[in-house]
Symmetry: C2
Subunit: 248 residues, 2 copies
């Protein structure tokens, strides 16, 4: 039976765990991280903890554990499910509260960890440029991994409906920001390029790692610039997926 | 004991009801309505049903009940709690699913109804203009009552921290869009004015009703225009709150 970790307790995944008045459910008042665990090691955990704390600071949410405690919880839920490799999702919300926007004076945040399988090798992704929505680079939340993913959801639906695998989201200036749930890299004239955070790219943990290891640069990209790309990649904390090309 | 209504069942509100993998919780893949019930009558129910269906159509979510069924559920949860007057929140999400943005082929949407008390008479609201975030009138979701309320949450926090009661959110052009969880009306030269939906105002059910009964007009408003307002009001489905003025 799959187990989840909720505020320090291990519980079965198939039974309700969240109160109906949890602000993560009612108002999207939350953040998350998705962490790759391989051979019993949580990858880039320090970067995940740092981003979680930056987001929690901005939202005014307390993080109930220190970094070691978060790491122990990640390894705990992986172990409780008898796994060595897993995708662990860590969700932090403002917890249960009465109706209304103001948070209660005494907050009981919800910290939830769930496990999934790491994605296997995927075929190169065929992309579209999303038309139904865009990435708002002016929102403070474009820099935080908040639980509100509707832009990504409808853009992904748009891609699937057109026979593609994923969509690139443009920002308000028409620059490429990222894909629906991954960062984007293009190899242009021998140089790896990725959109800057100021263009609406989420500051991904894998992105930060590849900026160093690929000697990549942050530069604004128009869709037309991708005609000159000799390789393109989608990157998440869980891995790297090559891009076959843009369709349509 | 307070009861909730979940997918046709009455359950106690103090026990977990939502699965940890509900997309409303994990991805903000949901919509809601807040309905005033007074003396056993659900007010403006037709408008709430219409807006819910418009949002569900846009998101591609099925609504599991017809309008009569939704009304019966609203009255059912009010009655189950022994109430005649209540604020009923109706939340529709894409339901439980495995990790990832694509919805499962066979969707089991979550329909949840909860009750709260109607707000009493509140003192006139002191407002600020939110600086930490803004209302993105270009997002398709500014027209839908999606569960993602982070802009409103941090703007309300900003207001409370400054000793105000609520905040007006400007849009990307610097026009007034709405308050953090209510529409905004100003009486200017004897004419009630409210920001158009194109400026980022949620198409509120009370707003629609007041546009008719107050003979109000939709017009873009700059903060400076409010200097000429002789009265201002915040309006929600639950009621109307006068504005004392802007501070700071």
């Amino acid at each position: 039976m799959t187990m989840i970790w909720l505020n320090g307790e291990f519980l079965p995944a198939d039974r309700p765990a969240i109160l109906a008045n949890d602000r993560g459910f009612t108002l999207g008042d939350g953040l998350f991280e998705t962490i790759a665990v391989k051979a019993g090691v949580a990858l880039r955990m320090e970067a995940h903890c740092r981003r979680l704390r930056e987001g929690a600071d901005f939202l005014g949410l307390p993080v109930p554990l220190d970094d070691q405690g978060l790491t122990d919880a990640v390894m705990g839920i992986v172990g409780a499910n008898g796994l060595h490799d897993a995708a662990v999702r860590l969700t932090l919300t403002a917890g249960p509260a009465a109706r209304g926007l103001p948070r209660p004076a005494s907050l009981s945040p919800t910290l939830l960890l769930t496990v999934g399988t790491l994605p296997g090798e995927l075929p190169p992704a065929r992309l579209i440029i999303a038309r139904r929505t865009y990435r708002n680079e002016k929102s403070p939340f474009s820099r935080l991994k908040v639980t509100s993913y509707l832009d990504g959801i409808i853009a992904r639906n748009e891609a699937l409906a057109l026979g593609a695998d994923d969509a690139l989201l443009l920002n308000g200036n028409g620059h490429v920001a990222e894909a629906t749930a991954s960062n984007f890299f293009a190899l242009i004239e021998g140089q790896w390029v990725t959109p800057p955070v100021a263009d609406g790219a989420l500051p991904g943990t894998m992105r930060a790692s590849l900026l160093r290891s690929w000697n990549a640069v942050e530069r604004s990209l128009l869709p037309a610039d991708l005609d000159r790309a000799t390789e393109m990649m989608l990157t998440t904390a869980l891995g790297i997926r090559p891009v076959a090309g843009l369709i349509g």
